[in-house]
Amino acid sequence: MDETYKQIMPYLPGAWRQYISDLPPALLAETEEIRLRPEHPVLLRFHHQEGWLSGMGRLSQDLPMNFCFSGEDFRKTVLLITDSSYYALAEELRRGYVTLPGGHRAGVTGRAVLEKGQVRTLKDLSAVNIRLARHIPGLARPLLPLLVDRRGELCQTLLVAPPRAGKTTMLRDLACLLSSGALGQPLCCGIADERSELAALRLGIAQLPVGPRSYVLDGCPKAEGLMMLLRSMGPQVLLCDEIGRAEDVAAIAEAAHAGVKVIATAHGAPGEDLARRPALRQLLADKAFTRIVFLSRRLGPGTVETVVDEEMRPVDCPRNVCA
């Protein structure tokens, strides 16, 4: 069985482990998400398709209402993903997900418990979405030569892609490559991993490879995290996922002025006018990013569509990089 599956199987109730593990190995290797709801069939999403689990190792496109994930199964799943410590995960549940060993993530929905107008935690969970994290070693290697300028220095880089297009996977591999010396000199990388997606730190140990000279600040708001890393670890490169708030923009500008290279990601579609996004407008106007990479999942997660410079001019894109 796929190694990724071995890691998440203990989080599913007994019988369902068998139902899923009997799927064809090729499909198992392509699985991205397992969506669970009480008294509802199980939805599996793959790279290019999705299907309802309709029996042992069988998928259906029609809703198989006679093959549902029971309420008891769901209760067990909640216990398993929380290590039977639901009460201790209020902060994770407030953010809407629990990080599992191996860097996988169980996204959850339920009833929000409010305190002074803010979400304190979730209760009465109504759905669990197990998102399988897969490290793709070398995914960013063909892209790397496009992220250096004529002097051979790494550019300030923004990766832009819609959800599930491989932004995080690409960013993680960039951290791996840069800190391993893929540009000649190994670079010290600071990772502000606000949502525990990049390194998936668990008890201080990175569950996903981020490279030998990468230092991870986990669960900290990006803006604050970038500044803390800047002060504490003396990084040459700062990496953060999904910028979008005004304070993120200010922190990136500050880091760039401090002479540190920043590689960040943002939600967006290829061809989208990023200047229309309030948070990014200022960064683009200031030419804070000298490389903007648009990704899609057209040929699988991490497909590089275009790479442009600060003037939005395409950067020479070898055939093996751009799809």
Partner: protein
């Protein structure tokens, strides 16, 4: 001959007194065990409510306060640490089944009822569930103390009395 009779009489007395003491000790053990379980649950509530520890660490943290009930908490903590796709409820039930406690079925039922709720809810609910279980055990302890108070003396007197009667009959 009289020496042999004396030795035999003493042996009979020792055996009956021993049986009586054993029965009395069993009653007292139940009281102590119920008290220790309450202390363990109080400590578990502290580990959850104040230290905010995950259940496996909360269980092992509660064990020292649990005295004679410590093996139950330690076994649960060990199994929770191993994980292996089992919920806290399943682990708790298995640990209770394996535990040689000397408690009565009614006491064990109270502990079993705790299993399905363990770790499933938020902090406040967990503290309430633990407190309810502790109060139920306190009720059982009160009853056990009353029972032990009456029957420990009965067992001791009975053991002496039976021993004496048997010795006198045999002599």
């Amino acid at each position: 001959m009289s020496v042999l009779k004396l030795v035999g009489g003493l042996l009979i007395m020792a055996a009956t007194i021993g049986i009586g003491k054993l029965a009395a000790a069993r009653l007292q053990n139940r009281c102590r065990m119920l008290f220790d379980l309450q202390q363990g649950l109080l400590s578990l509530a502290s580990q959850i409510g104040y230290a905010d520890l995950p259940l496996s660490r909360a269980m092992s943290g509660a064990a020292p306060a649990a005295g004679s009930a410590a093996p139950l908490f330690l076994a649960a903590a060990g199994a929770l640490n191993e994980g292996q796709g089992r919920t806290a409820g399943d682990i708790w039930q298995d640990c209770l089944s394996d535990w040689q406690s000397g408690l009565r079925d009614k006491d064990i039922q109270i502990l079993r009822a705790l299993g399905p709720q363990l770790g499933l809810t938020g902090r406040e609910e967990q503290l309430q569930i633990l407190e309810l279980t502790r109060l139920a055990l306190a009720g059982q302890e009160k009853e056990a103390l009353h029972y032990a108070g009456n029957f420990c003396r009965v067992w001791r007197c009975l053991s002496w009395g039976c021993g004496l009667v048997m010795v006198l009959l045999l002599l």
